[in-house]
């Protein structure tokens, strides 16, 4: 079997060795319940506060503004709970945990349209709502959203702003002060931390209401015995990003690989097109479509070659509908069904990219050859 090529970092990034080490020593330390006053409880509490400080440092927040949650989805649901019964507006390409929870809890959830690149125009942001939620970067396309600009407009109209920074964190600079947002979501497992822990940043003074009630943890803002191991892991991942200038690594090391992948796919794979923007995109996400070839089939033929990617095709995840993001940007179901997302990480190498280019053109051409969709006539 050929070497494993993992290009699904946007789904989850492998645990960093430093994170693993921090978690193992936390496990060995045998921490007690962080709420207990005795010394093992106190030790746990200290570990949690260290992690809080590390996350706060990474996003330029104050430690009191950091609330640990079970992940990005819980953080997003919490924001929806805060605005229960109110009016909100969210972008068309938000993660389902934003779209779904806002629709379920608010009085009205308006959808802000995006352009072909998946970008919100701040002029289209409604001014008659209580909260606006626009992600910092799209998980499917990598498109960066003008969140600072949106916040500036919204604050003039006394509208609160939430941004889901789950994909952006660690890849580009995320600074809550310069973004000006009131709420921000992030998740550990996208930056080499463990699955099952995340953060909701709540600006001091912004309205708050807990989603989970029944304990004084997290300053009465999130009940439940603290997930010490997970939080320690998240703290270690945040520290790693800070110490290693991860944004610089992504800009200097990962972006060239991602650009190379795009250029060579466009050169070597017939009828391929790029769904990610050329400018204003995360350094590590590339979404491509391959005319007449179905996404899940491409994904699984790549998997058989030990290359892991993801697809926006409905056929893949057991969904009935294709990616709502590609439907919002292209309005073309076929483009969505034929899409593949490559997402790179700090461990990605030139050999990984070369390997993709070795196998992808052939297998896409084969699928195009047996496809019921004819492409010849439609070409130019």
């Amino acid at each position: 079997m050929s070497r494993r090529v993992y290009l699904d970092y946007a789904a989850t990034a492998p645990l960093l060795p430093e994170v693993q080490a921090a978690m193992v020593s936390a496990m060995k330390a045998g921490y007690g319940n962080a709420s207990a006053l005795h010394s093992t409880g106190h030790a746990a509490r200290c570990a949690i506060e260290d992690a809080r400080a590390a996350v706060a440092q990474l996003i330029n927040a104050n430690p009191e503004e950091i609330i640990f949650t079970s992940g990005g989805s819980e953080a997003n649901n919490t924001v929806a709970e805060i605005f229960r019964g109110k009016k909100v507006a969210v972008s068309a390409i938000e993660h389902p945990s934003v779209l779904g929870s806002m629709r379920a809890r608010t009085e009205e959830c308006k959808i802000i349209p995006v352009n072909q690149e998946g970008r919100v125009d701040s002029a289209n942001v409604p001014t008659d709502v209580d909260l606006v939620s626009v992600m910092l970067a799209s998980n499917e396309l990598g498109t960066l959203e003008p969140v600072a600009e949106i916040t500036e407009r919204c604050h003039k109209n006394d509208i609160f702003v939430h941004t889901d920074a789950t994909q952006a964190i660690g890849k580009i600079k995320v600074d809550v002060k310069s973004l000006g947002v009131d709420y921000l979501t992030l998740s550990a497992h996208k930056i080499g931390g463990p699955i099952g822990v995340g953060v909701l940043y709540v600006r001091k003074g912004a309205p708050y209401k807990p989603l989970i009630i029944g304990g004084h943890q997290e300053g009465k803002r999130r009940a439940g015995t603290s997930n010490v191991l997970g939080i320690v892991g998240l703290g270690a991942a945040a520290t790693w990003c800070w110490d290693n200038w991860s944004c610089k690594l992504f800009a200097e090391k990962v972006r060239p690989l991602c650009d190379d992948l795009r250029t060579r796919i466009l050169e070597t794979v017939p009828h391929s097109s790029c769904n990610s923007p050329m400018e204003g995109c995360l350094p590590n996400i590339l979404n491509m479509s391959f005319r007449a070839a179905e996404g899940e089939s491409i994904q699984l033929y790549l998997d058989a070659e030990n290359i892991m990617v993801s697809t926006g095709s409905a056929c893949a995840a057991g969904d009935i509908k294709p990616s709502h993001v590609l439907m919002a940007t292209t309005g073309d179901a076929e483009v969505a069904h034929s899409s593949i997302r490559f997402s790179l990480g700090i461990e990605t190498t030139q050999e990984d990219i070369d390997r993709v280019i070795q196998v992808l053109p052939g297998l896409v051409q084969r699928l195009q050859g047996i496809s019921t969709i004819k492409i010849k006539e439609e070409h130019d």
Partner: protein, 132 residues
């Protein structure tokens, strides 16, 4: 990772997906056939087309094309093997359940993929009978 993760689908599905039988590569007009049938729609993410050669009420050869997922490819490949040589009536009896059983099962949300092949074949047979 110390051990390779098992594949999402059964070994038979995998085998047929990786080595599909009787697919029609390229221009379909180059393949002489007595009838064809098509079902599905690219907008829904899947489309299936079946081509049959018939002699004395018997399917002597069958080929297919698809814009569909791995399960669609595997189940149609399996179906094409199952019906070759059968009479038209017998071929119609090979339903989605038989195909999925043959494949060692498909996840529930993938059942419709096996329906596609069956329906495309049924459409081809119907078209053939109309012509007769």
């Amino acid at each position: 990772m110390t051990e390779p993760a098992p594949w999402v689908y059964s070994d038979t599905v995998k085998e047929h997906f990786l080595n599909p039988r009787n697919f029609l590569m390229g221009d379909e007009s180059k393949y002489p056939h007595d009838a064809e049938g098509v079902v599905g729609n690219p907008v829904c993410g899947d489309q299936m087309k079946m081509f049959i050669q018939v002699q004395n009420d018997q399917i002597v050869d069958v080929k297919w094309k698809t814009y569909g997922c791995a399960s669609a490819i595997a189940s149609t490949s399996a179906l094409s093997e199952l019906v070759k040589g059968k009479t038209l009536d017998d071929a119609l009896q090979v339903g989605p359940q038989e195909i999925t059983d043959y494949l060692g099962g498909l996840p529930q949300h993938k059942f419709h993929c096996s329906v596609l092949g069956h329906e495309a074949l049924a459409a081809a047979i119907e078209n053939y009978r109309k012509k007769e």
